[in-house]
Each structure stands twice: as structure tokens, then as C-alpha cells.
Symmetry: C2
Subunit: 366 residues, 2 copies
């Protein structure tokens, strides 16, 4: 990336994926303008269940390669309940993209915003500010139907493989500690918790062992351990005590939804999937086709994912303008909640997709 | 079981397993006395991490066979953080027992008791009354270290197998629907939710397909579906809407702790593991060796597990006295919370193991 024009491959996908992608990219442009005008170029790519229904392919010809050449990929949402593979699983080209581009680091923040729903009775829930780091290329998803790797699949029995490799796990834990370092600048303290089931599974004892090995390179970061079942319980009892949590793919899928649930649900759940050479950004919510095009979807998860994308590009290109644009978006949303200028319908407020987007723009332009 | 003397194999295990087993079996006897005196005979079996440290074996010679001959097995808790296998995993003879005795149906109730901690802000949390049915012999635990089945285990990579079989899954879903029928008598309505990840994994689409096949035999029971990640979120948003939830082993491990966390944590988390010919009952909490012997452990999870055991024996032997004794325990605990006569230290109250046990006895004797 030598120029300061960045290419973003855009897969709007299905359902509300379309509504929220439009909102997010619009906000990204407004924030960049405010920050000082680094330009993004958007390259649309067709993919998803709707596209599959029309064409029999889940992504347009050459789409994966084009996405691979872009500086980042933005994805809305993929999937339609009525469009399935023969085995009953969903159309999931994005699972293939995670693997193909080696997007091992699934970054899923969960942060309490003022006046956004908090489900826990304890007032300390207002302090929740954590990131689930979900390994996103192996673990149990090594065996996702889209990869065709079930070792046994008969009418009597199906087996899946869960795979943990040293190479990926080392990178993942390094990513976790570096993320904690970055968060430490803002928050003054930082901790990485290794979430596993090392008491029962060799793969998980292996995962934890590598965590220990890598942690010695980051002596200034506090480290912790938790079994995944106990972690689920601790998210109910004291989620405000956690910062960065690193875990296997399937565990991260479950616990990131749980963490999101504590602070407003999937309408706020941003997600970045990051590898050594590629990054894909998407709201963690689904395509909710029942409400598509009705101005009902909460675009904030997508907008926050846009900020994650800007942050990723900023790191990759050592570009301060991009970093500033990311911060502008984050601050606008935080401030918008604090002042009740952002009131999503999803949370009992009066604002749909367009009104929220407009207000975030007002907040950014100041 | 032709006589009315029932044999219970008792594995106290490690740590507070010892404290809470004593409490639970005492209460079971008091309840039986009150209900009309069906006798239990307790057969102690040594097993656990402490036993392993002494002897190099995790269960006494002939212990598994003896447990297999008993009418039921009661287990306190097993595991000591300092005693591990060479691969870093814990001493887990109970995982082997689950498999050996084919204890596929892991029954884990989560019910809100009056005045017990509820973590959610929504007042409807007081209505939580559900059962997680965790398949307990296969799924990802097929590959638990204790079974020695990792297909790949090198310094660079470890793989595990997740296995779903038709035979076990059919029995599991039947168990779920029958449990719902039984609960319907008490609650007037009943629903079974199949929790899976059928959108991504063939094994899970298979699990759901078998759910559908078996459900037609139980047309009077409502059925529902949820993906495991969405279910974790729904436990935050609306846990009071669920009744019986049936799922794979690892998912059930995580979601049952989560469900337990909503209604007081592991100190209330009872567990039964039931097969066609055997049943094992244990509190779902760990051995907490740091507080063992200090009169601090909350014995209620163990006592409630004792009630599950009585209920199981009652069904197995069509014995009304046993069923009555189970109900006597459940009612005593519910009433004890409602009247604040039960105030566990764990929940900020003033009662330790012995005081709670004494008070449950008082409540039973009336
Ligand atoms: C839709 C599904 C394939 C996906 C996943 O499990 O990864 C989703 O749940 C997510 O969390 O991104
Ligand atoms: C201790 C461990 C082996 C066990 C399990 O995972 O089954 C425990 O977490 C449980 O839930 O009973």
C-alpha cells in the first residue's frame, strides 16, 4: 500500500446486509472527510444466498481473487433461511474467505454504551469494555460443511474435526497480546484471558501451553485463564473484570454473542477478521431478511465495523488520518448515546436505519 | 430392582465433594423417612485426583464394576488443580463413567428461587425454570483426553473428533420430549428447543434432522430451534421463554453453566446423567479444594442432585415413595428460599454447609 487511495472490496450480501453496508460506508467516507481526506475506493462484489439462488454460485466469478487484491473487505451479511445446501447447512462463502485469506484473528468488541440496554442488574455492567478474540480459521470450523472435511458422514453417524495448529495459535496469541498493548494506551491497564477447556482436551491444553509460551514476550500484560464453561458463567457474574479474551473458533462464536448480548445485542456487535495480509469487516449479526429494506435495521454494528476497518488500514499503512477517522466514528457513537441523540428502534427508541445514519453524520460534522 | 432397598454407589471424590456429599445423602435419608421409609444402602467407592495421587489409579480396583451394579451413583466432585495427567488435562474418571454406562442424558435444571441471586435486570428473570439436556457421551467429548482418541497429536497440531450418532441422538431427543411431558403435568405447558449449529456443520444438521424425526411422536409438545450462539444471547435476553433445551455435549457444558449463572451460579446447579440402565447424580460444580472442610460450600446443588436421583429411582422402579421424597426435598428448598430460612453464605447470607443442611432438615420435618 504505497498510495493513499485504499481499495475496499464490498460484499453487501443478503437481507439487511445491504441496508447496513450502505450506511456504514457512507459514515466511513464522512469520517475520512472530517479527518483529512484519505480516499477509499469501493469495489462491489456479488455474493450470498440470493446470488446463489440466481446463479448456483455463492460468489461472482473472480470475486474471491478481487477481494484478495483489495486492501480490505467489507461484508454486510450473508444467508437466507430459504436457501440452503443439500445437507441443510447455509450458503457461507465468508467461511471460505476466512480460511482462504487466513483471517485467524476474529476481533469482536463488546462495550457498554451509555443509555444502550444493559441486561445485568449490577451497575458495574456499565463498565463492560472487552474484546473477544475468536480464532476464525480452524478449531471446530475446520470441519464446517463448506470445507467438506467430515471424516465420517453416513446415515448413522457424522464426525467433525476440531483442529488446533501451533502456527495459527502462536499468531493468534501474539495478536491478543498486541491488542492488549494497544488497549493499554487508552485504558491504563490490560489483561489477556486464555479461554479453553484445557482440563479435558489435549487440543486445549496445547492451546493454553502456546499461550504461556507467547506470553513471556509481553511481560507487561497481565494474563489469566478460564475454562470456557466457567467463562460463560463469569460473563453473567462479573464481565466488567475482563479485557481481551482469546479462544478457539466455536467457543468464540458462542461467547461473543453472549458478550454482545450483555451490552445491547447483535445490533451493536462489530467484527473484524484479520490475517497477516488481509482483513474482512462485517457486523456480527445476520441478514434478518424479514426486516430488510424497511429502514428498521440498526446500522451501528456495521458502522462500528467500518471503524475497525479504518483502524486496521491505519495500522497496515501507518496512516494517522485513517486512525483519526476510526476514532471520530467511535467517539461520535459514544457521544451520541451519552447525549441520547442516538436512539435505535431496536432498543425501544424512535430511530431507524436512516435516522441513525443521519445523526451519526451530524455528530461527526459537529 | 425387585426389592425396595436401593443401592447407591457413592463417590465423594475431592475437595468440597466430600462436604456436600455428606450433606446431600443425609437429606436424602431424612426425606425418605418423611415420605415413608424406602431404604437406601450406600456403597462408598474411592476415586478422584486425591486417590490418583496416592495410588496412580483414578478409581479403586473394581470400583467401576461396583458402580455399575448399583441402582444409582452419587458423585461429589472430582479434580485437584495440582494433580494432572502428563498432557495437562485433569483426572476425570467420571468422563469415563459417562461413556462406560452410556449416560447420554445430562439433565441440568436451572430454576429461579425466590431471594436467590438473579443476575438479570428484567423482573421476568424470576420466572426462569428450564432444563438443559446435555448429551453426555459423545459430541466433542468423544475426544476427551481420557478416551485417548485424538486422530492427530504432534508438537505442531492437535485434532479432536466430534461425533454425533443416530442411536444416541434418537434416545436423547426422546428423553427430551418425555421430560417435557413430565414437566407439562406440573407447568401446564411445555416446549423442547433443539440447540445446534445446523447452519454450519453437517453433524448439527444431522442432530436437528433426528430431532424433527422424533418430534412427530410427541405432537402435543411445542418445538423450537435455535443456533447455539443465538441461544447464548437469548439466555441474556429472554431465558424465561425456554423450557427443555437439548444439545450436543460441549454446547451443553457451556450453556448449562450460563443458565446456572442466571439463577445463582454453580452452588445451585444440580445434575443427573442418565442412561438406559444407569444413572449418575452430582452437583455440576467443581471440587473447590481451597474451601474444603471449612463449612463454606453451598450444599444445595448436591442436595438438589439427590432429589434428581430419587426421582430417577422412582421412575425406574415405579416407586411413589421415592417420587414423594424427591418432591419433599424440592419443596423444602423452594419454601426455604421463599421464607428466607435458607440464606447461603455464597449468596451473601449467613449460612454455611452445616447450617443449610440443618435448616433443610427442619423444613422437611416441618
Ligand atoms: C453465520 C455463521 C456462519 C457465522 C459463524 O458461525 O461464524 C456467524 O454465526 C458469526 O458469528 O459470524
Ligand atoms: C470437570 C469437567 C470434566 C466437567 C465437564 O466438562 O463435563 C464439568 O465441567 C461438568 O460440566 O460436569
Amino acid at each position: 500500500m504505497s498510495s493513499s487511495v485504499f481499495q475496499v472490496a464490498v460484499i453487501k450480501g443478503d437481507g439487511i446486509g445491504i441496508d447496513v453496508t450502505d450506511a456504514a460506508l457512507h459514515i466511513v467516507e464522512v469520517a475520512l472527510e472530517k479527518a483529512g481526506n484519505t480516499a477509499l475506493e469501493f469495489l462491489p462484489i456479488q455474493a450470498g444466498a440470493g446470488y446463489f439462488k440466481e446463479t448456483g454460485q455463492d460468489i461472482e466469478p473472480g470475486g474471491e481473487e478481487a477481494a484478495g487484491r483489495a486492501d480490505a473487505i467489507f461484508l454486510g451479511a450473508i444467508g437466507l433461511p430459504s436457501v440452503r445446501q443439500k445437507d441443510g447447512t447455509e450458503i457461507s462463502p465468508h467461511l471460505r474467505l476466512r480460511e482462504k485469506f487466513n483471517l485467524y484473528a476474529g476481533v469482536r468488541p463488546a462495550r457498554a454504551y451509555p443509555n444502550a440496554p444493559q441486561r445485568l442488574a449490577d451497575p458495574r455492567a456499565a463498565e463492560i469494555d472487552m474484546v473477544i478474540l475468536r480464532e476464525s480459521t480452524e478449531g471446530l470450523f475446520y470441519s464446517a460443511a463448506v470445507h467438506n472435511r467430515c471424516p465420517v458422514d453416513t446415515g448413522d453417524e457424522v464426525q467433525e474435526l476440531l483442529r488446533i495448529t501451533r502456527t495459527t495459535t502462536e499468531k493468534l496469541h501474539d495478536f491478543a497480546f498486541k491488542l492488549a498493548q494497544k488497549r493499554q494506551e487508552r485504558r491504563g491497564k490490560s489483561k489477556v484471558t486464555c479461554v479453553d477447556k484445557a482440563n479435558v482436551f489435549r487440543s486445549m491444553a496445547f492451546f493454553r501451553k502456546i499461550f504461556d509460551e507467547r506470553s513471556v514476550r509481553f511481560p507487561e500484560i497481565e494474563k489469566g485463564y478460564n475454562y470456557v464453561d466457567a467463562q460463560a458463567l463469569d460473563f453473567i457474574r462479573k464481565p466488567w473484570e475482563f479485557d481481551v479474551l482469546v479462544m478457539e473458533n466455536m467457543f468464540g462464536d458462542i461467547l461473543s454473542d453472549l458478550a454482545g448480548g450483555l451490552v445491547g445485542g447483535m445490533g451493536m456487535a462489530a467484527c473484524g477478521e484479520i490475517g497477516d495480509n488481509h482483513g474482512l469487516f462485517q457486523p456480527a449479526h445476520g441478514s434478518a431478511p424479514d426486516i430488510m429494506g424497511q429502514d428498521k435495521a440498526n446500522p451501528l454494528a456495521a458502522i462500528l465495523s467500518g471503524a475497525l476497518m479504518l483502524d486496521y488500514l491505519a495500522d497496515k499503512a501507518s496512516n494517522d488520518t485513517l486512525a483519526l477517522a476510526a476514532k471520530i466514528i467511535d467517539d461520535a457513537i459514544y457521544h451520541g448515546f451519552a447525549t441520547k441523540r442516538i436512539r435505535p428502534q431496536e432498543f425501544g427508541g424512535d430511530m431507524g436505519t436512516k435516522a441513525i445514519t443521519r445523526e451519526v453524520i451530524n455528530l461527526i460534522r459537529g
